[in-house]
Symmetry: C3
């Protein structure tokens, strides 16, 4: 129940971020909905396809389509007020990537995959919806350029497997991993930390 609530909040935040990007590109209602949908479920869909967990997750639970539809309509109607919700949305989004990372790791473990692949799947679940959104909008994906987004997911995944030897309780491990993702993302945004640049300043 608790997890499902977080999952829905994360989906809402991702869908709304998709709506905002799509409306910036002057898309029509169909385009806006597709971008919202892809942003919310694209990462998990890619994960399911790569490990062969088909039909993919959102085809087996109608909650996702319903929630994304409602969130899209809400975001379109109240688009002028959403800026006041920026802080809530950022919070949902951050909690969302924590949860998505954990769900991805869990799916990898169930499929008996190597820990490195599990961390990859967690990061993919959390981050690749945004990548597909940016490709469909004809942009270079933003997380390839300046976000700590993916780094937070990777470190959360490493925390899970790093503590695996010391803790027996898998639920506790998942909780810690999610918390690490969320904490790193919050700290990075609050203190404006980003990955070290590979390029000279004045280039």
């Amino acid at each position: 129940m608790f997890i499902q609530t977080i999952d829905i909040l994360g989906t809402v935040a991702f869908a709304i971020s998709g709506v905002l990007v799509a409306m910036n590109k002057k898309m029509d209602p169909f385009g806006v909905f597709i971008i919202a949908f892809v942003t919310a479920v694209g990462g998990g869909t890619l994960r399911d396809v790569l490990i062969g967990a088909t039909p993919v997750f959102w085809m087996q639970d109608m909650t996702f389509i319903l929630v994304i539809s409602l969130a899209s309509v809400f975001a379109v109607v109240f688009r002028n007020y959403i800026k006041h919700l920026r802080r809530s949305l950022f919070l949902f989004d951050t909690i969302g990537i924590g949860l998505y990372t954990v769900i991805g790791i869990e799916k990898g473990i169930s499929a008996d995959l190597h820990p490195v692949i599990c961390v990859t799947l967690g990061t993919m679940s959390a981050c690749f919806g945004g990548v597909i959104r940016d490709i469909l909008c004809n942009e270079i994906p933003v997380i390839f350029r300046k976000e700590v987004y993916a780094t937070a997911c990777i470190l959360g995944g490493l925390a899970y497997f790093g503590l695996d030897a010391f803790l027996q309780d898998q639920n506790l491990l998942f909780l810690i991993a999610g918390a690490v993702v969320i904490a790193i993302r919050l700290v990075a945004v609050i203190f404006k930390i980003s990955l070290p640049s590979l390029y000279k300043k004045n280039s």
Copy 2:
């Protein structure tokens, strides 16, 4: 036999539309063929991958590769005359999306998926070849911006499941669904109807 003929005409129309877009981008012969191929089978391929129907359909029936190859050669050779065929191509294309929508719905039903997912799969089969074509050509997908394309497919799918309670004959249902897609697309193009804009006129 009748269905196969329509399927081939639809594939030809989609492939030719791919050739024309690729030649606009000054692609070489290999690029032109790939874009033609992706336009014609991309939507169905995505559908098959997401529901786990692999190897995907065009790997199991050589007709598709053959038809797309011939259509591509034809379109390249007669590119200066194709404008005179514009009306025929539009008709093939419209009949094609009607059929592709129905095939997608049928595949979803066979896989025991929820009606909403079946409608999604129908729409995806008909529309996502064009989306992948536009991404490969570095454009924002045209159906996200101004076409009634997808809406026609969705309404056709809804017609299928809306009449499901009243009609026993599945073939008749498929025929009606396809006809709805085709009728809506024709009406929309003839009367220049598009989705209501989300944006102010002078923005």
Copy 3:
């Protein structure tokens, strides 16, 4: 052992080419790694997904992630010296596509697919990593515009199936197919041969 060495050299060459493209786009370290990864394994991943060979190959053998990580760090650190390695990289890359083509054909044969599909899978394995790289970098894929890359792979595949009737030894067939790919690519680059243009010179 011999094949594995070639596979690793090919992966290294592909990964480094990804790093160079990503750094041209001023991506951050995470983006650079993802582009290197996708360039190296993207074609094989698409092949595995389309034929349903999941989890995809790099999830089952940690060598790929390891090699790509090391190659990426190497390429970033020594980016100013890599131009002196251009000839070696071109050679690795060319040997790599020869091998990737053969691996793709082999996978298609194991899955009992039609020869035409096997050739397609070989070409896809060798070429589509670069296509996905270019899409993520917001470019029209370079092999759609001016490379003999794909043509070499297709001709190598045809050589395999053309000689199939005359030669019993499958290993010999694979060797010949790989050699054809490599030879055509070398000849095309050395003599600056490209596909005949579909467009008038001054257009």
